[in-house]
Symmetry: C2
């Protein structure tokens, strides 16, 4: 039985607590939360601490706090030579305080409190300073996910940037689509099968093969009509830039 | 039994042929294809014609050709007063030649030849000049889809623009993610669960509620690090514009 404590009470922390709760070989000993109310109904209140001095020694501390707080939090863990992993996509392993054995435990997914997830399918990108610590992190990660990958800090940063494009920016395009529907009295529901299929297509085709639409076809008449139709400067800017990018991309070998 | 002929042999035509093939109350009488080889293995060769003069009268002609050819093709149908629908998202109903009874039959989906689709889930946006023709179009559309909607030409144009954002532009962002992975020796596979979840999330949450990431959090440190990491001017341009759009959007009520 491996003992794990989680520091943090936000989206990632809550999803991790849920995921570990179903695993017999991992015990969540404690959760550190500045505001214990965040974790009501999620974990036994006796396991919640709000002061670092009450933390007990465990096999692994997982820091699931905002990027800006990782340095500070890793310094406050009241032990030397404990294994401490952060969960951030963009923060280097070396940022963790040097009194700790440093590691990374980065679940590559978009977490919202109200949307349940099957953790088994979430890639967990892990990194550690030595093979023994790597094995512990790997064991813990594999207990909740079937997709555990060794990713170093540089690759993880690239992955985090790529994730911003395929997730955060994509979701924003959904929102622009939603706005255009609202402006024209159309129920956004009608676009959902298209959104699903666009995501499903790349399970079988590369994004390059899957590309369709007026920019891909070089259909300048439709592009001009779309630009005439749009009135919102922001929407026009996005339309022009992404259309140009698709056209330029088509010219590459 | 309603008799339908399809004019065209591209992606949309082929998917429609497959969809109608499974329906007992619709008969595909003929398919017009300039190049019959496109339809090998898809339909009985005796049904294929390559000259408009061999077309027979049917209850409905569906024109599934490129937008630029719709005017010309609708003029070449060798009958007066026949019901003729085009399948384009961006072309007005009135563009069809006036000798026809005009209609629109627009399946709102992204079609690639090599990716099969369940037509039942595809929204079909329909429009006609009178209620009798509308009923025919509706009957044909409902035979292959459970999601048939009355959408006028102005709404359809808005929908087509919105579809470019949520499908074509989204797929291009997948490609940028793929490029960033390739540049950093990461297998693009690792991003696919995130892409799927991003699309699935908006089945439960509005895009605004589902938004996550550094721009949404106003995390300027991570944004600056991402911009420092990116070397490709095109990727940097997209990153800056969409980040600004998310931030501005967060300021709206």
């Amino acid at each position: 039985m491996i003992k794990v404590s989680i520091i943090g009470s936000g989206n990632v922390a809550q999803h991790l607590i849920h995921a570990f709760a179903n695993e017999n070989n991992i015990e969540i000993l404690q959760v550190f939360a500045r505001n214990p109310d965040d974790l009501i109904d999620i974990i036994n209140p006796n396991k919640i601490v709000s002061d670092f001095k009450y933390l007990q020694k465990v096999d692994l501390f997982i820091i699931a706090v905002s990027d800006n707080s990782i340095i500070e939090v890793s310094a406050k863990i009241p032990f030397e030579n404990c294994l401490v992993a952060h969960t951030s996509g963009s923060i280097d392993l070396n940022v963790l305080n040097s009194k700790n054995r440093k590691a990374v435990f980065y679940p590559l997914q978009t977490f919202s409190k109200t949307k349940k997830l099957n953790f088994k399918e979430i890639p967990i990108c892990i990194e550690a300073q030595n093979s023994r610590d790597y094995s512990i992190i790997e064991y813990v990660a594999e207990s909740i996910s079937n997709n555990v990958q060794k990713i170093d800090s540089k690759q993880r940063k690239a992955l985090h940037v790529a994730a911003v494009f395929v997730c955060n920016f994509t979701n924003h395009l959904y929102q622009v689509g939603n706005e255009i529907c609202n402006e024209n009295n159309i129920n956004f529901e009608i676009l959902k099968p298209l959104i699903q299929e666009t995501a499903n297509k790349i399970l079988l085709l590369s994004p390059k093969e899957a590309q369709t639409g007026p920019a891909k076809r070089g259909d300048s008449q439709t592009i001009n009509e779309h630009l005439k139709f749009l009135k919102n400067e922001n929407q026009i800017g996005i339309y022009i830039l992404l259309t140009k990018s698709i056209i330029d991309n088509g010219k590459k070998l």
